[in-house]
Structures are given as C-alpha cells and as structure tokens.
C-alpha cells in the first residue's frame, strides 16, 4: 500500500516542502501575533472597541479558507501575500481574545496590592497584567499555530508550496503514498510545534508549573 521507494526517492522534495510549510506558518504567526497585540492593546485602551474588533475577527474566522483565497486572487494574484492574508486572518480571533482575556485575568487583589505598593497604571499593565497573561497568550498561540499548520496545506491550491502540494498531487493521481506523506508530516509538524510552545510556557511562566496544591 505504501510505496517506500517513492518516499526514498523524494526525500529531498519532502524536506523542501516542509521548509516552505514552516516558513508560511512562521510568517503567519509572527504577523498575526504582532497585529493581535496591537488590536488587543487598542481594545484594552479603548474598551468600546473590543466588541467591533472581535466581531470583525470572528467574521474573518468563519469564511471558509478556500473561499477566502478565491476572493483574494483577483486582487492579489497567486502570491505569497494572498496566502498570508488568509493565514493571518485566521489567527486574529483566537489571539486577540486570549491576549485580552489574559490581561483581564489578573486577580483584583494583585492589582490592588500593586497599586498599594505604588505602581502606576502603566506599571500595573507591564509588570503585573502582561507577565501574568503569558500562559493564556501562549495557549492562544498553540491553537493558532496548529490551526495555521493545517491551513497551510490549502495554500498549495494557489501555488505557494508547502506539504499540501503532496496531498493535492496525490489526490489528482490517486496515489495514496503521496497523500499520506503530506498528511503525516503535517500532523507531525503540528505536534512538534505544539510541544515547543508547551516547553516555552514552562520557561516563560515557571510559577504556573511549580504551583502545588496546598
């Protein structure tokens, strides 16, 4: 059922497609996270903007990915930009929501103690709210990363490469091995990235892990 010889002769392409896949994902996450921080900050500073911002991000999130790419192609062509506009759009909702939830999640007693010690409002945000939001923000990043890795397979449709190329070609030729290779490597990549974020959280938020039940 599995054509091992094909795999052996295509190791070079598998590596190259994986590289493309990772690059597409990283760009989407970096841009998506930066944009989300900006929008979350706006929502934090102007609470009335939170509703419209999440509403817009929610609408973007519900558009089927294939439809979104089809809509964009007339404007931006079969370009990297088209792929990334789509991928970034899908990260926004989860990231913005988690960042804002994280900022809001600081226990009131911690904020009161901070103010009582003489923190300014800005110090409360930077020294208390932001660091304490790290676990929630990272769990948002985990979901966004895994979602993006899955979505990148679709960008093969607009000729931007990635592991989706194997799946697409395999489907066209009814060649199971190629479909499996594309799928398995994608899943493995998602699991790997997810574990990387778990490790990052332990490093960045050591207080969570060491908290013991009293």
């Amino acid at each position: 059922m599995i054509d091992w010889a094909w795999i052996g002769s295509h190791l070079g392409e598998i590596a190259a497609r994986t590289g493309e896949h990772v690059l597409l994902t990283v760009i989407a996450l970096v841009v998506g996270f930066a944009l989300s921080m900006l929008l979350a900050w706006l929502a934090w500073a102007r609470p009335r903007s939170y509703g419209p911002i999440t509403w817009t991000a929610g609408i973007l999130y519900t558009i089927p990915s294939i439809a979104l790419f089809a809509l964009l192609v007339p404007f931006t062509g079969l370009s990297l930009l088209t792929a990334e506009i789509g991928l970034v759009s899908y990260t926004l909702l989860i990231l913005i929501r988690n960042i804002v939830t994280g900022l809001q999640g600081t226990p009131p007693s911690v904020v009161e103690a901070g103010l009582g010690m003489g923190f300014s409002d800005r110090e409360v945000l930077w020294r208390l709210r932001l660091p304490l939001a790290v676990p929630v923000v990272i769990s948002g990043l985990r979901v966004a990363a895994v979602t993006t890795i899955g979505l990148v397979t679709v960008t093969a449709l607009i000729g931007r490469g990635g592991l989706g190329v194997f799946i697409l070609r395999g489907l066209q030729r009814a060649f199971t091995t190629e479909i499996l290779v594309g799928t398995v490597v994608t899943v493995a990549l998602a699991l790997l990235v997810d574990s990387a974020f778990v490790l990052a959280e332990r490093r960045l938020a050591p207080w969570v892990d060491r908290a013991t039940v009293r």
Partner: protein
Amino acid sequence: MTEGAPGHSSTAIRLEDVCKTYPGSAHPAVESLSLEIRAGEVMVLVGPSGCGKTTTLKMINRIIEPTSGRIWIEGTDALTTPPHVLRRGIGYVIQQVGLFPHRTVGENIATVPELLGWEEGAVKRRVAELAKLVGLDPELLGRYPAQLSGGQQQRVGVARALAADPPVLLMDEPFAAVDPIVRQRLQEELVSLQRRLRKTIVFVTHDLDEAILLADRMAVLNLGGKIEQLGTPAEILANPATPFVESFLGRERGLRRLSLLTVEEIDLEKGPVVGPGDGPSAAGQAMDRYGTDWVVVVEDGRLLGWKWGADLADEPHGFRASVAPSDTLRRALDVILTSHTQVAVVEEGGRYLGIIDAAAIGRALAG
C-alpha cells in the same frame, strides 16, 4: 498593646470631614468622618459590615478617592500628592494578600525598595532582614507564592509592606482569611513586632477580640462611618458610650475586659502565709484572717507550697493553680476554674507574690 503608645502629642494621620459617596448610591458610605491617629499607635477601626471602615482605610492611601474632605499624612496633604508617590511611603496589607504570583517570595518583598531605586545589595540585605523579622524561613525566598501556606503568604504580605520602612501601615482585615490557630499566632507576632517597630498602624477588622488584642485605641463605627466611640479598648469595654456600642460589644463584655487586665494590675491579697517552722498558733491566726483551713508556706519570699491547717507536720503540697503577674485576669479565672480550686497562687520564678480568687477578679471588674 494595652500600655498605650508613647509620643501622644504628634499626629501621624489626620482625617478632616472625609466623605465618600459611591456613584449610584443614595447614601454616603462614609459621611463626614474626622479622626486623628497618633504617631506610633495602633488604631483599630471596628464595626459591623457596611459601616465604612474599609472605605475609610482605603481613602488614606487613595485606593478609594474621597468625595470630599482632607487627609494629612505626616504633615503632607495626601490628596494633592500623586497617588503612586504617596503609596510608596505607606505599607499596605490586605486580606487576600495580593502577592504577585509570577514573582518569587524574595522578589515580592523587594517590590517597593526596587521601585524606589535602592541599590541591589541594599535590597538583598533588606529582604533577608525582613524574612527574619516576620519569621520566614530564608529557604522560602526563592519559592513562588502559590507554594506557601496561607499563614506564610500573609507573613510575606507583611514583610512586603514593611520593606521600605514606611512610618505608616494600613492593614485591611489581614488575618481574616487564615484559620483560627494561625490567626492567633499572626496576631501575637504583630503585637511583638509593633513593640519593636512602633509604626503608626491603621487596622480594620470586624473581629472584636482582634480589635481588643491589637488596639492602642479603637474607633467603633456605625453605618455611614459614624464614630460611635473612640478610646482605648479598656475605656470602651468599661463604659460603652451608646447603645450601639453596647450591643456591638455583646454579652461577653465582662469576659473581654478580663483579657485586658493583668494580675499585677489588681491589689493582690497576701494570703494565709506561714513560715516553714511555724506552729499551730501562727497558722491559726493566718487562717482566721482569711477564713481558710489551709496555709501558704513561704520561706524568705520563696514559695514552698501549701498545707492543711490540721496537718502542719506534713511536707508542703504544690499548688495546682498558679499564675504569673503578667497573666491576664481571664487566664487567672480560667486556671482557677479548670483546676477545681477556689484560688490560684501568684508567683514569678518561685517568688511568692500573693493569692487571687474569683471574688478578687470580680472586684477588679467592678472597680
């Protein structure tokens, strides 16, 4: 802290006609409250929930902004000082502690010194000093707050509040969330800490026993922050000014007063004392004077024990009930009741001082 604070003359905190009305509320939470808190005293604000005691406390460091009125702290106008500057000079301890979960115990304690830009070595020394002061194992300094018990967390809270050595300390029901045994220990530690530090402390509680234990003076508040009575715990317990205060003090007012008076404060009776070699006539005289059928045997001021008047040849027996001069009358009464005797001997390091009985305790309360 019944002995009263020294330096009564200087006022540390002055509240003048302070009002607070919360938005959307018809009645002010605090309506025109004026209060002077002396330097180095523990002022306890006590009253039922909703009486405005916490609101009053939090207006001092402007966690809650007064609607009107003036507040002076150590001679400076609190309401024209930027809040974060004001607060760095005021220690603040709250019931939920509010330790920063992402910072170690040591880092939590170092918060204000770091804000004030202390040099790193000085901060480190100060943290070690404070850990010792509040009885925290130095090993805990590297841990995170979630790894500590409730009592340990509140110790860290107190250490953090004291870190930059502020003259004024605000404490909002700091021990209400810990279990009774730990609470009692923390209260006792605060008493001994305050004996050394002599901070000006404003302490809010709804627990009358806690107020009596800690207060140099206390203010009993009614709804709207109305001060019903201001005075030392002993004054208030002895003479409640209004029916509200009387009902707030409750039925155990007499018992509570007992815990404010010590054995040495009352006139002790000498008791039916005889020397070890005294015969029946001396013993008879001593027993007649006190209406007892036993005598206390004392040699050169040292307590040897007691004997039945009828068995003077016996070796003296040890007293079952014994108290020290620094014990409270409450403890003395408890000792008398639990040892099933009518009387306790008062001694200190084997030195005989006198006897105390339930009747003497009763007279002390009446007088």
